[in-house]
């Protein structure tokens, strides 16, 4: 579903690459966790996947479509939840969702059904008539999540999605991520909460200093560490320290 080939990003005037020669393949129906310490290159990678940043080198494919060849078709395949919920504050929640639905060409019936479903799930339906300006951080995060699910994306990309969510909504989100994969779609998300990653993910990649230092299922990572009793936290600490 998602393929990164020799992906590199160097910011201007910096000698070291923020992301260096990453090769990664995320399969259809997979829930993929992207872990790494602060400044490791997680957000840079996600920004390149979503088209916010142009890579210095390499190629990105979603469902076989390269972002360079057909950026519009490529972008229709994913939904992106950024690490900060950027929204048009002067619109109401429902106006924002209608705007996103129009942009992603969602028909009237589908958008109504999706808004009612996710509005009830994230307990935000009654607030959708209010201006986004009056929303709390958590409510904004919920609205962004709803917006990205409206067109039922083949690939759901989430950057630190749990930040600001109440326990109930965090639970609902985790369930929705699993459900999204069960429907044959793919989820690619970054997180600092290792317990969440350990419980949820089918496969995990750990990035450090712009390089992927470990990749595989939890069992594969434990096998690589040659210690079956290690937790994901232990593995994470080991590989990151080794890289540093």
């Amino acid at each position: 579903m998602l393929e990164l080939k020799n992906l590199t990003k160097c910011y201007d005037k910096r000698k070291t690459a923020a992301v260096s020669d990453i090769n990664l393949k995320v399969n259809k129906g997979e829930l993929f966790g992207f872990l790494g310490p602060n400044g490791a290159g997680k957000t840079t990678t996600i920004k390149m996947i979503t088209g916010i940043l142009a890579p210095t080198a390499g190629e990105i494919l979603i469902d076989g479509i390269s972002i360079k060849d057909d950026p519009i078709k490529y972008k229709k395949n994913f939904g992106y939840v950024s690490d900060t919920p950027n929204l048009y504050e002067r619109l109401t929640g429902i106006e924002y969702l209608e705007f996103i639905a129009d942009v992603y060409d969602v028909n009237s019936e589908a958008r109504k059904a999706q808004i009612q479903k996710y509005g009830a799930m994230f307990d935000i339906y009654n607030a959708l008539g209010d201006r986004i300006k009056s929303f709390s951080h958590g409510m904004r995060q919920k609205l962004v999540l709803m917006g990205t699910l409206l067109h039922n994306p083949k690939l759901w990309i989430l950057d630190e999605p749990m930040v600001g969510l109440d326990p109930m909504s965090a639970y609902c989100l985790k369930e929705e991520m699993k459900e999204h994969c069960r429907q044959g779609n793919t989820v690619f998300f970054s997180t600092h909460v290792l317990e969440v990653a350990e419980k949820l993910c089918d496969r995990i990649a750990i990035i450090s200093n712009g390089v992927i230092v470990a990749i595989g299922t939890i069992d594969e990572l434990k096998a690589q560490a040659e210690d079956g009793n290690l937790t994901l936290e232990d593995i994470f600490m080991n590989v990151v320290r080794r890289q540093e």
Partner: protein
């Protein structure tokens, strides 16, 4: 006091971007860009000051001719007061009622009076700057004709500093009242925006009532028309106590002392009232505004599918019209254009018996033997309308206004080109409204035939399209997307200024054939219209090409 000064310094750095300006000039990579922007701003300022000096000089001569240097001084101070009011009303929405900044600052161990006073001082300074833009050239012209005097210059100094105290306080409390009333309704922002627009329009009408005679281009006629306004100027100068006191500063020693005492008393009283009553009221208003922000706006969704372009245009309009800052800075010209025409037109009707006292009717008389007098008046209205549309900042801040939502623009499956097209369409619609209403009002009131009005509208629309392309070009090239407050995206954005400068150059170019016709170098009005249109179409094609080439280069993936 130390905390207050620190807070003020912080806000000054934050708002004016002094830190950013310093670092831009210090950085070798940005120095050239910063210098270019600085020079552009300087050129616009110079053009404005030259225009002011020219106008003031004419006003001075006319006032002398109509028998009163005092009247001239009164006029300058009243004019400065009105311009200052205008600035304060626009600024207060962002300087005072910024809930984001208030939330941050009120969590700090700083007195609420200090938080409020920093905003007040900010308003005070903005009034001072706009006032100096009028008073300095005005008094400069006065001294040029009356002879330079150091005593006169020194006496004016306390006036500059103390003069803004009264208007700044009045506007602050008027805006408090507006916000308290607006905060009680569901559509707080809409009501506060409309109230702000109404106040600006009131200032504008008052100014035009005083100075319509100033649009006359013949000295004798101007002097005659100023006699008609002298009563109003006299009354206003007596009502506005700071104007009265400032003028006294420039008189004899005895008058200077009385004037200084009055200004100091006003300053002390207003500061005292503002500090105690303002600090208390400010807190109440902010609480009221934050509680009203949660009001329900839309009941349910439409759940109706529409095209991407329509969705983008609808979003643009909602974001533009729901923000008082955007309305005041970007689309106020839609109101001011027709209003200006209405006032000129009504005055023209009123003074018809006196063989026309304003510029349009006078030119009609001057060109009574000319078959194309309609075209000449229409040409002037067209030039005025083009100038009004150039002041709109919808296109020149189109990307900057996105701010942190720029990432939304980058990730949605719509090309950058289509998104900019939607923004340009909304700018064009606003310009269309401005052009049609301004030209329409002008055409009806001055009794111009349909054909010249139609030609004028076409010329204005083509010109405004070019202006939009220029504005969008500047903003797409270097958008200002990192901002906390909407005013930073429009008012404190050099893109608007640079775009305006380029539009002025184009305007001069477009006006050239018409100017040659008026002075008699070109005989045929048809030739003027055709030549203007050819120039406009060429610039339209060029600017469009430049913009879309830039957009293609900016698109990350093509």
């Amino acid at each position: 006091m130390n905390k207050f000064l620190r807070l003020f310094k912080f806000k000054l750095y934050n708002r004016i971007g002094l830190g950013g300006i310093k670092s831009a000039f210090a950085s070798p990579g940005l120095r050239i860009k910063a210098t270019a922007i600085f020079l552009s701003v300087l050129i616009i300022l110079c053009i404005f000051v030259i225009f002011l000096i020219f106008t003031m000089s004419m006003m001075y001569k006319s006032f002398v001719q109509s028998g009163g240097k005092d009247l001239y001084l009164n006029f300058i101070f009243i004019f400065a007061q009105l311009i200052g009011f205008f600035t304060l009303i626009i600024s207060s929405f962002n300087s005072m009622f910024n809930s984001k900044e208030h939330d941050i600052l009120s969590s700090l161990p700083v007195k609420r009076e200090h938080i409020f006073m920093t905003s007040y001082v900010e308003l005070y300074v903005s009034f001072l700057v706009s006032m100096l833009m009028i008073v300095l050239p005005g008094l400069g012209v006065y001294q040029y004709y009356e002879g330079f005097s150091l005593t006169f210059t020194l006496r004016a100094l306390p006036g500059y500093i103390l003069f803004p105290a009264l208007p700044a306080t009045v506007v602050t409390f008027v805006m408090f009242a507006v916000m308290i009333v607006a905060g009680r309704f569901k559509h707080t922002e809409l009501i506060s925006t409309l109230s702000g627009v109404a106040l600006i329009v009131a200032c504008f009408i008052l100014y035009l009532s005083l100075s319509t005679g100033g649009s006359s281009y013949k000295q004798d006629d101007l002097a005659q028309s100023l006699i008609g306004n002298s009563d109003l100027i006299e009354i206003l100068s007596k009502c506005m106590i700071n104007v009265f006191a400032f003028k006294m500063l420039l008189g004899s020693v005895y008058e200077f002392l009385i004037g200084a005492i009055i200004l100091i008393v006003i300053f002390a009283t207003t500061c005292f009232i503002t500090y105690f009553a303002g600090g208390c009221l400010y807190e109440k208003v902010m609480r009221l505004l934050s509680s009203s922000a949660g009001g329900r706006w839309t009941k349910t969704g439409r759940y109706r599918k529409s095209s991407v372009q329509r969705a983008l245009i609808r979003k643009e309009f909602k974001l533009l019209l729901r923000s008082p800052t955007y309305v005041m800075n970007c689309i106020i010209n839609v109101i001011l254009g027709p209003l200006m025409m209405l006032i000129f037109g009504i005055r023209s009707y009123n003074k018809e018996a006196a063989v026309g006292e304003d510029i349009f009717s006078r030119i009609t008389v001057l060109l009574k033997n000319n078959m194309n007098a309609d075209y000449v008046i229409c040409g002037l209205i067209t030039a005025l309308t083009i100038a009004v549309t150039a002041f709109g900042m919808v296109a020149s801040t189109c990307v900057s206004r996105e701010g942190s939502n720029f990432t939304v623009m980058q990730t949605i499956p719509v090309s950058y080109k289509d998104q900019i097209k939607a923004k340009l369409t909304s700018a064009l619609i606003i310009n269309l409204v401005c052009v049609i209403t301004t030209m329409g009002v002008g055409g009806v009131l001055f009794g111009i035939n349909f054909l010249p009005v139609l030609l004028g509208i076409i010329i204005c629309i083509i010109a405004s399209l070019s202006f939009n392309y220029i504005g969008a070009f500047i903003d797409v090239m270097r958008p200002k997307i990192y901002w906390d407050k909407e005013s930073q995206a429009v008012k404190q954005n050099a893109n608007g200024m640079i775009s305006l400068l380029l539009c002025i150059v184009l305007m001069i170019l477009y006006a050239l054939p018409f100017a040659l016709y008026v002075v008699g170098i070109i005989d045929s009005i048809v030739f003027v219209v055709v030549l203007t249109m050819i120039m406009e179409v060429i610039s339209l094609i060029l600017t469009r090409m430049m913009l879309f080439r830039l957009i293609n280069n900016k698109e990350i993936y093509r």
